[in-house]
């Protein structure tokens, strides 16, 4: 069976869809759909880059394994979304990851935030996992079959990420005095960047039933957060939301450093194959 045929049989929601399959698709997304795929792909890529730092530095070997797993899932999602986006402009996942400049990225500020201590990383994971789960649970119904297929794979994985972060919120929130203080501090540092996740942009209007309107995810997200934090005897931080701007290419100061590290080798040898 040729690669092209193999991919045709694989692209069904729920079946493992590989970036290599997406690269072989005959249909190309329109510009708006590709822009939307960049949003989701860049979030996953930058988060994976942040999480990758923990591998060999986690508080326990089991956590090295768990955080590596989450990072791997995210990089998988990033590769699929970026490959699909790139089909619109004849660019590969690596062209997009390694050869775009900072203002061309579309990641939200939340995923760019520093790892901090383990509690801060868990706070960020908690928000991202709950948000991505709400998002992908709806994106499986997208009228764009490729986005729906990527979401169908991703939602199952993100469900585990949700479970992982919730378990840690409970443990740290109710473990020791120190862990509780650190968890509260971690949530407080993370919360300013929650609002940006749910901000609508004109692009969403263009997408119609291809994408998911971010503002519609806020209520279920808040409800889920409330349940977990109440059980952990923690509160939703009362801090002003940051204006964000990632979807417009206006990023936190952190992204430049993240990209410097991510892109350094690829840019040192432009055109090389690895």
């Amino acid at each position: 069976m040729s690669e092209a045929n193999a991919s045709a049989t694989r692209i069904t929601p729920g079946n493992a869809l590989r970036p290599e399959d997406i690269a072989l698709l005959e249909t190309k997304p329109g510009d708006a759909v590709a822009q939307y795929a960049l949003w989701l792909g860049d979030d996953a890529l930058i988060l994976a880059q942040r999480l990758g730092w923990w591998i060999s530095r986690a508080p326990e070997l089991e956590e090295d394994v768990a955080l590596a797993n989450i990072a791997l899932d995210q990089i998988g999602h990033a590769r699929s979304f970026l490959t699909y986006a790139g089909r619109a402009w004849d660019r590969t996942e690596d062209d997009l990851a390694y050869f775009r400049r900072e203002p061309e990225f579309r990641s939200v500020h939340l995923v760019e935030q520093p790892n901090g201590d383990f509690a801060r990383t868990i706070a960020r994971q908690f928000v991202v996992a709950l948000y991505q789960w709400e998002l992908y649970s709806r994106l499986v119904d997208s009228s764009d079959p490729t986005l729906a297929a990527i979401a169908a794979k991703a939602v199952k994985e993100v469900d585990y990420h949700r479970d992982h972060s919730i378990q840690w919120i409970l443990r740290l929130g109710q473990g020791t005095e120190e862990s509780r203080h650190r968890m509260i501090a971690g949530l407080k540092l993370t919360w300013p960047y929650v609002e940006e996740l749910f901000t609508d942009h004109p692009l969403v209007d263009e997408l119609g039933d291809v994408g998911v309107r971010p503002s519609t995810l806020r209520a279920p997200f808040d409800a889920a957060v409330q349940v977990v934090l109440a059980e952990a005897d923690l509160e939703v931080p009362q801090v002003p939301g940051s204006v964000g701007g990632g979807r417009l290419g206006r990023h936190s100061e952190h992204l430049g450093y993240i990209l410097a590290e991510l892109q350094v080798l690829a840019r040192e040898y432009p055109g090389a194959s690895w």
């Binding site: 060999s56 990851a97 443990r171 473990g175 862990s179 090389a272």
Partner: protein, 326 residues
């Protein structure tokens, strides 16, 4: 972390029947299991070997993790993350195997952090370029496989079984290393040079991974009598050289060793002289990265202490809650 270590002392009192049984099992090339009687030296020697192996997996995560954030393609980044993750998994199986001999994982970790325990010296060399990730997979994991495949038949059951799984994953690691080098060797002139430079730097240290020459390896004899070790250091090293000689041709690179030849008389591959003085220096803590590796492990362990304490406290509270509800 909770560990259920078995108290070994109760079974080390002289037990004539137990000793007979142990000798029989070894003579039949059968397996010794955790609850069987075993000589104190066997237990001690295995605990040392398995825990050193576990520590090597854990310290060995660092040099490769060093390139995760800079991997030059997303696919390579994913593969490298998965590889370093596998190493954490190997560390976990091996610590578990060692625990069945009576030493808790916490104790082994403390010994590592305190500098009392050893790990494979190879990880004290720096990983300078992306090609080093290829060379480590091909040469270092390749040498590890040569060493470890015979350990799948080690007389101690939990160790042998852990090694079966580890060897399967290691062979993937070696192939991905080879693939990285192959891509570089067929790439631009600069990439090819990068690959050759990495092979030049990792070749001799990987040959030294098999341990000192047979005449200087006093522990080996006992280990072979106990069916833990099956082949001598030099024998395994020679096999490894033979494999590399063929594979380097496919890469189109050169082994940095003019003296490699097959000796018809001994039936073994010969290699050029190795700098055993350097080996001893690195082993003694004077390698380029010894201090850095230890510091990073210590830092991760100490920074994580409050997390482990919180997890333990939470688990205890949950137990109390369940008891109260009952």
């Amino acid at each position: 972390m909770t560990t259920t270590a078995i108290d070994p002392r109760s079974r080390e009192d002289h037990d004539a029947a137990g000793e007979r049984r142990f000798d029989e099992l070894i003579a039949q090339d059968s397996r010794i299991e955790p609850r069987d009687w075993m000589p104190a030296d066997y237990r001690k020697s295995l605990t040392r070997q398995i825990s050193q192996h576990a520590h090597s997996e854990i310290i060995g995560m660092q040099p490769e993790a060093n390139w995760i954030t800079r991997a030059p393609s997303l696919k390579r980044k994913a593969v490298l993350m998965a590889k370093v993750q596998d190493e954490a998994g190997h560390g976990l199986y091996l610590y578990s195997a060692a625990e069945t001999l009576g030493t808790p994982r916490d104790q082994m970790t403390e010994d590592l952090i305190a500098g009392k325990a050893r790990y494979s010296s190879i990880f004290n060399y720096p990983v300078l370029t992306w090609a080093d990730i290829g060379a480590i997979g091909w040469l270092v994991d390749g040498a590890a496989i040569c060493n470890q495949v015979p350990l799948c038949r080690a007389s101690y059951g939990p160790y042998g079984r852990a090694m079966v799984r580890i060897c399967k994953e290691e062979s993937f690691h070696q192939r991905q290393g080879f693939e990285i080098l192959l891509e570089l060797a067929n790439g631009t002139e600069a990439q090819k040079q990068m690959a050759q430079d990495a092979v030049n730097r990792w070749y001799a240290p990987s040959l030294m991974m098999f341990g000192p020459p047979d005449e200087d390896s006093p522990n080996s004899q006992k280990s072979m009598e106990w069916n833990i070790k099956r082949f001598s250091n030099d024998e395994l090293r020679s096999r490894f050289v033979g494999m590399m000689v063929e594979q380097i041709k496919v890469l189109g690179l050169d082994l940095p060793d003019k003296d490699v030849r097959f000796d018809e008389e001994t039936g073994r591959w010969q290699h050029g002289p190795l700098d055993w003085n350097e080996f001893k220096e690195v082993l003694a803590g004077r390698g380029p990265c010894n201090a850095q590796r230890m510091e990073r492990r210590r830092e991760a362990h100490e920074d994580g202490a409050w997390v482990r304490e919180a997890a333990a406290a939470y688990a205890e509270k949950q137990v109390l809650k369940t008891a109260q509800a009952a």
